[in-house]
């Protein structure tokens, strides 16, 4: 195992003991950015969320969430090249940071733990 890998695992283990909290919408946005990889920018993130969840977020809500998550260190943004169909405006691409990944994993684990042993599709609660 390389030093870098050891360092990453130590970091993740450290953060997992006190994981940063994520709202439901923040989780959705982070997962969409993770799915899109290198091509995650405003339009594609909105489209991905719409395609996967059936609800398209308002642009204002999406940009505010992305800004807030960038401030918290969950995502990083970089600038693309200006394109003519955008009136010469550059795209702002997003990538999920290690801290963001840890936050998503932690939030999803919490859901998994809560779902464990529940029979949602049968029984008295069906």
């Amino acid at each position: 195992m390389t030093d870098r890998r050891v360092c990453d695992n130590v970091y993740i283990a450290g953060v997992m003991t006190n994981p940063p909290s994520l709202g439901e919408f923040e989780q959705v946005v982070l997962l969409a950015v993770l799915r899109l990889g290198e091509n995650a920018y405003g339009v594609s993130i909105r489209a991905e969320i719409g395609a996967r969840t059936g609800r398209k977020p308002a642009p204002g809500a999406l940009y505010t969430a992305l800004d807030r998550m960038e401030e918290k260190g969950f995502v990083q943004s970089r600038w693309g090249d200006p394109t003519p169909q955008r009136g010469g405006r550059a795209k702002r691409y997003f990538t999920v940071t290690k801290r963001g990944r840890v936050a998503v994993i932690s939030a999803q684990r919490s859901y998994q733990n809560l779902l464990e042993g529940l029979d949602l599709f049968g029984g008295a609660n069906a």
């Binding site: 505010t64 800004d67 260190g73 600038w79 955008r86 550059a90 795209k91 702002r92 290690k98």
Partner: protein, 246 residues
């Protein structure tokens, strides 16, 4: 095609220019299918989502300051008919006058930071604790147990903040923000006195301290809080290198 330059200018009033340009670029991509009505409603939505929290925070800061000003401060005891027992001793007056001024600034800064940045933010937490301690001392200095507990709590918070890295940055930010607020308000008052000396306005009945000073104090103090919050954020983001790598 919608007037993208106008939309970009509008959004750039509330965020930085590059982010505004990227947002408008995104809207332009989709506006070809959705039409100008969708474009402009989205621009309005972006502006609203960028500003609502700050507007509510500014209003709350102003209301909190106005609320504090309705309570007679013990340092002004002879003026407001406060019981003599609560009157600040003469040799403590300079301390209490200064504390009153900082207390007012804290009552602006604490609600603003709590609404704008949330209760988990270190700057908000420190401002809320500081305003609670300052308020307790200002109004209950004459009860020895309360005053000594508040002083002890204040010293404890100070020691805790200096000892750890994150609270230390927040403490520095609070100190600078309050310093800027204090100096700013004093400077405005000084300018006003100079102005009055040149152009006496007493006949109009206009008083800066009664009419405009609360608004000016809110504007100066909240701006200082905003700058210092950015400083704390940037310092925390720099952090250890491993935290920022993808």
């Amino acid at each position: 095609m919608p007037n993208a330059v106008c939309a970009e200018w509008l959004i750039a009033r509330f965020t930085d220019r590059r982010r505004a340009a990227a947002a408008v670029g995104d809207l332009l991509e989709v506006a070809a299918e959705q039409g100008p009505l969708w474009f402009w409603s989205s621009v309005a939505g972006i502006v609203l989502s960028l500003t609502w929290r700050r507007l509510v925070a500014l209003l709350a800061a102003f209301l909190c300051l106005s609320l504090l000003r309705t309570f007679p401060m013990p340092v002004l005891a002879p003026l407001h008919g406060i019981p003599t027992a609560h009157k600040v001793p003469e040799n403590w007056r300079p301390f209490f006058v200064t504390l009153d001024k900082f207390g007012m600034l804290l009552w602006i800064a604490a609600p603003y930071a709590a609404i704008c940045y949330g209760f988990r933010d270190k700057l908000s937490q420190l401002l809320l604790v500081a305003s609670a301690i300052a308020t307790t001392i200002i109004f209950y200095w004459w009860i020895p147990a309360v005053a000594s507990t508040a002083f002890a709590l204040g010293i404890g918070v100070l020691i805790f903040s200096v000892a750890a890295a994150k609270p230390r940055r927040a403490l520095l930010a609070v100190g600078v923000a309050l310093g800027v607020g204090f100096c700013g308000v004093q400077f405005m008052l000084h300018l006003w006195q100079e102005y009055l000396a040149l152009f006496p306005l007493s006949a109009t009945g206009f008083s800066l301290s009664a009419n405009s000073l609360p608004l000016l104090a809110v504007a100066i103090q909240t701006a200082a809080c905003g700058w210092m919050h950015r400083f704390v954020r940037r310092a925390l983001q720099r952090g250890p290198e491993i935290e920022s790598t993808a």
